[in-house]
Symmetry: C2
Subunit: 403 residues, 2 copies
Amino acid sequence: MSDLTLLAEKLDAADELAPVRSRFVLGPASDDPADAEGIYLDGNSLGALPAHVPDRVADVVRRQWGELRIRSWDESGWWTAPERIGDRIAPLVGAAPGQIVVGDSTSVNVFKALVAAIRMADDDRDELLVDATTFPTDGYIAESAARLTGRALRAVTPTELPGALTGRTAAVLLNHVDYRTGRLHDLPALTAAIHAGGALAVWDLCHSAGALPVGLDEHGVDLAVGCTYKYLNGGPGSPAYLYVRHELQDRFDSPLPGWNSHADPFGMDPSYAPAPGALRGRVGTPDILSMLALEAALEVWDGVSLAAVRAKSLALTDFFLRCVSEYTEPGRLECVTPERHEERGSQIALRCADAGEIMKRLIARGVVGDFRHPDVLRFGFTPLYVGFRDVERAARVLGEVVA
Amino acid sequence: MSDLTLLAEKLDAADELAPVRSRFVLGPASDDPADAEGIYLDGNSLGALPAHVPDRVADVVRRQWGELRIRSWDESGWWTAPERIGDRIAPLVGAAPGQIVVGDSTSVNVFKALVAAIRMADDDRDELLVDATTFPTDGYIAESAARLTGRALRAVTPTELPGALTGRTAAVLLNHVDYRTGRLHDLPALTAAIHAGGALAVWDLCHSAGALPVGLDEHGVDLAVGCTYKYLNGGPGSPAYLYVRHELQDRFDSPLPGWNSHADPFGMDPSYAPAPGALRGRVGTPDILSMLALEAALEVWDGVSLAAVRAKSLALTDFFLRCVSEYTEPGRLECVTPERHEERGSQIALRCADAGEIMKRLIARGVVGDFRHPDVLRFGFTPLYVGFRDVERAARVLGEVVA
């Protein structure tokens, strides 16, 4: 056994989150150091299946839909699911209850958040800033929000802030973690800088929620959105969420004022009157199957400390970098994820010209990460179910594949 | 046995759609004429569960998500589900393939359709008309679309058309069937009138698709939206759909240009370039569990003729009115659904001052319809699984309850 194999075993033995792995459908960690089957390092794209979710979904389908049918809107709590599940996500992103609703896709929630933010700002603030490095959909939607509200849009990198802020800036949309490089941006400092510039801070938490503490309330974030199918393990395309800070809720003026956000949705009033609170972020009828699968999936967080998650995440990515450096010829792979812990999310991105081909061969060997055009290998480390032996083996197979 | 009971049996025996009932989880039709248990007349709100859907959903959860995980985006056809399922809905609404995508809620799709319609119209057409009798969310969303595009909004009843059209009218949003009264509007004539006025016709098919032929292509409808959880039985909050006529697709300029509608979504280009065709109606990552439950549910339509569905729907509603008139004191209930077949959808709405209380007592007796504020009893007749004995018994229980 190599020193790194022994070290991996020691780290796994000392890992307080190790027992959480059994809450997922992954099979047990193999004891065979040559076995790289099923090393899943793509939880930053689609989280693994929590073991109890299939039975819960079956109950929703067979009993709640099949037997109770329409009565389930009340009796099975369907109607209140968006805010109830929002409150379940809230502690994971550092939010008090009553500020998050679940529903729609991330893109749709970015649209709600940006148009609402523009409407909260003074009229002479006629410009929207968007993270130039963010996942593309945020930029596309920001462009639409700016166009529909007659604002200018300017793309800036997070490092250009606060210098890029002007007296014209209404709001800034930033991504907490860069989806390609895995760089973690300084949410507290950037939010404070945006506020100092008189603008609203809107954060996309897709790549941070569930991987590290976010602290929305503590840092005074104004609006935030995120998906639930990555580190929150809600299932493919599970509904996204929208956070609206308490103090801003009365001024939240949605561009998608569907009947679910009405103060009296069953009054069937032809005039719109918004519900109080976070409910204003609701739109149409919620997709119950996906939503209740997510609700069940969130139970894996019971008793899990986010501080432990963050500590393990950093230990996993540190260890991965060490193993890669040991097993791979120097210069073959360029790490584009920051070395500094303060600047690192829960993924490692390695650059090489033949990344697309390398990832295909890794997947064929059972090590599942993903490829991001044009030259990035991404490896996501979900602390709830990835162990140190997984990491050592994945790095070893990577070393063999690139050799 | 009363004459009506005998007649119901005869009608059931002659019903060519009767065998389709077994495709749903409803239990067999009872032979006990006194047994009103489980008469489900609320399929116009939430369709019943197709019997094969639970196993299909279980496979999506356990195997596609749990085992294949991220590979399912390709290998299980997740990525192409929105357009594939759109093509499965297409024949049910009279559309050729390539014009429908599934995803998001009806409200979100109304928003896409209206903003896109406004953008297709000449700039001097600065007014949007919306059906004053439509389900409220359509009006709320139309107001938002008008506000964001700087257009005026005017609510008109379908009967005020074509007189209400002016040279300023960009588009008209109408509901095919009035959700309260069950009145069916004349889609061919109204669409032609709207076109004659130089405007675009946008139809909401929530209460017609799956209950009667729609003929989108034949009648030259421009844009349409609909939900899938009523007569299409897709499950609670299953995703809605958007129809964009072939000839208009190149001009479809979405207000929600998420990355799923990009010409090269995995190119991760910071600039937006729309995909060709109906794909432009996609936004964010589709909610796969709800979407694939819907796909499975649509299989109940295999071999079912929409003409037979429409004929049975009218026979069911005719028979219900006859039974109600037989079993209920004259004047106790006012039918607000039109008598004429050309003006009737697949529901019957009866008005009485104590409708809320009556519906509670009906439900307690096993006859499930719904109540619409302030004074309407709604009964939906899904021809795929409602039989004539159900109808006779429901009317009998209604007569007893109102007496």
